[in-house]
Homo-oligomer: 138 residues x 2
DNA sequence: GGTATAAATAGAAATCATTTCTATTTACGA
DNA sequence: TCGTAAATAGAAATGATTTCTATTTATACC
């Protein structure tokens, strides 16, 4: 937690009970959570928290590199902790329990070369979502 | 166009002016289009077309394998023609002009093995979006 | 420890892409 | 040509997300 508070400071975000509580949720269990999920969990500790506050904090933590944002199949927002914020990598999430794990590996160069050769295009970004069953759920 | 009408029949979708017009748009220029984009183009040919009709036809064509669905950065729906519906592949789209091109190649096995070994998980699906600048725009 | 100030928050309200509903029209098999 | 299920238009609803504004709070400075 301490290091996350440093990140908040580095991003000029004040250390508030709401922000600490959101980070704490993800530290305890790193699953893909919707803003509603996060609020439900927050309500156990904080008597009140507005949904706009949840949305804002999640976006701030994403911008600070603490959370990774993704979209679920129903196109709604999901967030999970990202513990490798400064290196290029991807995330694996379990279809059943929604657990998220880091995939500190990317073999995208092959496709990139393929595209640059065959289409004569310039590849700039790629976005990969990997799903399956985690070790417990499979 | 003829072969697309076959696909409609195979999917028990009636051949209507609306559906033909939508397919025609994508055949003429294969770009990532939003439902609004599609309607704007349709209006040049068809006096009236309801937005719900556009949404429904796009979803039907996606289910029939004619269109590929994706999400833009603002999380809204986009569609483009998919000319390789029965083989696993990905799509490259130009950030500037939105042109979409098939990427008939996937080197996902490496990451998949990495995950199955390191996380002891079972990988089931992956979803890859590749963006950059096409040959004309770069 | 005060205090000033900008940042953060709650709650209500707005936004707007997408979906649902229903009456009418249309494609097409018999 | 006709009957019928499918397709459509237009209005309305939905619901996740964002905006707005008055109030509260964290913290830099003394
Ligand atoms: Mn990560
Ligand atoms: Mn394709
Ligand atoms: Zn699991
Ligand atoms: Zn281009």
């Amino acid at each position: 937690m301490q290091s996350y508070l440093q990140v908040l400071k580095a991003n000029r975000l004040k250390i508030t009970p709401r922000r600490k509580a959101v980070i704490d949720i993800f530290i305890r269990c790193n699953y893909r959570l919707s803003p509603y999920d996060v609020r439900a969990k927050l309500r156990r500790k904080l008597s009140t928290i507005g949904l706009p506050t949840v949305y804002r904090i999640l976006a701030e933590l994403k911008n600070a590199g603490i959370l990774a944002q993704s979209l679920s199949e129903d196109r709604q927002l999901r967030y999970a902790l990202c513990t490798l914020p400064h290196q290029h990598h991807h995330h694996f999430s379990c279809r059943k329990c929604k657990k998220v794990e880091e995939v500190d590996f990317c073999n995208f160069k092959g496709i990139s070369r393929f595209i640059e050769n065959k289409l004569n295009a310039k590849v700039e970004t790629h976005q990969l979502q990997i799903e399956g069953l985690c070790s417990k759920c499979k």
